[in-house]
Symmetry: C2
Amino acid sequence: MPIKKQDATRALELLEEYHRQLNSPADIQLRSAIERVIKIFKSKLFNALLEIQEFYEATLLDDSKSTEQKTLETMKVAERWSNSQGLAGPGGLAAASLARLAQL
Amino acid sequence: MPIKKQDATRALELLEEYHRQLNSPADIQLRSAIERVIKIFKSKLFNALLEIQEFYEATLLDDSKSTEQKTLETMKVAERWSNSQGLAGPGGLAAASLARLAQL
């Protein structure tokens, strides 16, 4: 099944829905493994948001910094983020996803 | 200002709000740099969601795979994700954020 762009935004929701429906005792291990994937994703997302907040507070809200200084620091953050790996890191599906993303 | 857990979930929203208010011609470069940070964050988030969708479709929705096989593959995904770097990657604020996250 080809992956549609509009579906990806619902991916976590779909995964949580699938997880909720695993009520059979035979599924207990799968349920627990999926729980772990969901937890890790949310933790990483939260961590990324925390970084944005740190940058927002330490750079943009600091009135002692000039607009030029804020611009420079913002550009550095953008540079660092654009050079960093995605959420799933090395060895994952990242390369394939990025290639697909580029086609969207 | 200490970072509160409940604020981090609003971090992107706050950044977008700050960006919207930059209407002065003197802020044009800062506005553009912030736009870049927002765009990179969203692109990485989308990419991570795409990976979840790929896993969901290739593993969980594949009826030719047994529950044991699905469990094994899900555990592998969890393992890979938990070993991978966060969104911001090396050299960023990731280490500090993770340390802070651990205290929450």
